[in-house]
Amino acid sequence: MQAILEFEKPIEELEVKIAELRNFATEKGIDLTNEIAILENRAREVKESIYSNLNSWQKVLIARHPERPNVYDYIKHLFTQFYELFGDRLYGDDPSVVGGIARFRGRAVTVLGHLKGKDTKENLARNFGMAHPEGYRKAMRLMKQAEKFKRPLICFIDTPGAYPGMGAEERGQSEAIARSILTMASLRTPIIAVIIGEGGSGGALAFGVGDRVLMLEHTIYSVISPEGYASILWKDASRNKEAAETFGITAQDVLKLGVVDRIVPEPVGGAHRDPEATAKSLGQAISESLDELLSTDPEILIESRYNKFRAMGQAYLV
């Protein structure tokens, strides 16, 4: 682990100790199985207690964890025969959006996702997962392709938001996001969207109009970042931790507001501690959702998708 979050330190300390003990046992040829088991138990307890009492800000940190599995990790674990496809056929290729075709449990599907890097170099290459218009337009091209070939569409959402830059504005960031939402709203093929990290604002929603919208357990989905919320409403970006608790951004909050369908459990300790187990859990959830959707008539599918988004917030109207 390179990045240890402050509240994870007790877990990390125990894990280091366990590793040391193991090395020591091998080197000296002594049996420390019992001692190691005791420590492992302790580590599990500490992990469970920390991870069952996370506050919203801690969840933000886990959702943004640099080692959190990204779309490429899920592709590796969940799909076979992945062919990445590039470019929007209009301007260029956006490396912060990954898309292609692959096989999921025997079935050909289209895969899309934002891609954050795991280190600075990768992040610079991927623009920290913040897409330009060409990223959304590449995505739209692949969405239409999925429709043409009757492939289900699976979207992995993980972005701080759409990129706020000059080129992005010149090339129509607003139009690209709006049209991506429109394209998804009327796409005649099943769509599953999963928030695997950070679901930041319009840039996330551009991939988020799914028949099923899932969130991993320690992820966030928000109209603006906690930093943005604090800086605009309180004129103080340093109150981000407080903001995180305020405006309902965790998977659990968002589920309660009726915006997503399901929370997918992560292994204790978070996805970044066990990407493989996370992928397994997510694969199961995707598979279940897909089975439901594939047995639905396409006309009914689009009608239900409409009703699903039509109902957003309606429970709160007076």
Binding site: E169, Q173, I181, F309, G313, V318
Partner: protein, 283 residues
């Protein structure tokens, strides 16, 4: 400037008013761009466009209805829909109260039916005075109902956007209004109905990135700020000042995202012409 003020007075064509004379701020207003002192009545006659520099003042929703629709044709829809506070944020309740008091509106959008040059339309007007015209649950719902009414009643849809974007105080539900309104536009598409999107100052964030960007025809008012990201956010990201005119209506047109930039005094005529082409056959 003061001299200007008195000199201009001679040429004023408005009738001498008896009622507002004793309320000075009701008589004149200073142009926020060129600082010219303008008579309110004169400004109103010029569709709230500065007579000296052409600056387009922001227009309250009901005034926009009046200046755009045929006289007496407006029938408001969902007039009674009240603002909501789904996350129960204490300071949001206060903000809503003061916005209601300040504008006399219940929410940041007014919707209804009316006619332009005799052609029936469904009309949506956002009001930037009400919490920057931000879109929360109620704004999204009213706009969605208006779009659905246009689709069901086979009437063209006109949306005048004026909004800083999604309303943060309603959290993720505000973001979802983007999906809700855009999904409703698919109904209009199926019905083969015309949608004219008019972008007024400002149209940014979640509103610019949803229904506002999707008109069959997109018109912008001169000088209107239109864009996805806020200018300060962009400047902080790229660490440089933005050039003059960036994200203004003319810039959007130059980059291919707006069909026309129409000065407000000509807007009603342009809308009438477009409606005529869509609704009346000559053969």
């Amino acid at each position: 400037m003061v001299l200007d003020f008195f000199r201009k007075q001679k040429y004023i064509t408005v009738q001498p008013e008896s009622e507002n004379r004793d309320i000075p701020e009701g008589i004149w207003v200073k142009c926020s761009r060129c600082s010219e002192i303008l008579f309110n009545k004169e400004l109103d006659h010029n569709h709230k466009v500065c007579l000296k520099c052409g600056y387009h003042f922001r227009v309250p929703a009901h005034e926009r209805m009046e200046m755009t629709l045929d006289e007496g044709s407006f029938r408001e829809m969902d007039a009674g829909m009240l603002p909501v506070n789904p996350l129960n944020l204490p300071d949001y309740g206060d903000k809503l109260d003061s916005a209601v008091k300040k504008t006399g509106l219940k929410e940041a959008v007014v919707t209804g039916e009316g006619s332009i040059g005799g052609y029936p339309v469904v009309m949506v007007v956002m009001d930037a005075r009400y919490m920057m015209g931000s879109m929360g649950t109620v704004v999204g719902e009213k706009i969605t109902r208006a779009i659905e009414a246009a689709a069901a009643g086979c009437k063209p849809l006109l949306i005048f956007s004026a909004s800083g974007g999604a309303r943060m105080q309603e959290g993720i539900l505000s973001l979802m209004q983007m999906a809700k309104t855009v999904a409703a536009l698919t109904r209009l598409e199926e019905a083969g109905q015309l949608y004219i999107s008019v972008l007024t100052d400002p149209t940014t964030g979640g509103v610019s990135a949803s229904f506002a960007a999707l008109g069959d025809i997109i018109i912008a008012e001169p000088g209107a700020l239109i864009g996805f990201a806020g200018q300060r956010v962009i400047e902080q990201t790229i660490r440089q000042k933005l050039p003059e005119g960036f994200q203004r209506a003319e810039f959007l047109k130059q980059h291919g995202f707006v069909d026309m930039v129409v000065p407000r005094p000509q807007l009603r005529a342009v809308l009438t012409g477009l409606l005529d082409l869509h609704l009346r056959e000559e053969i």
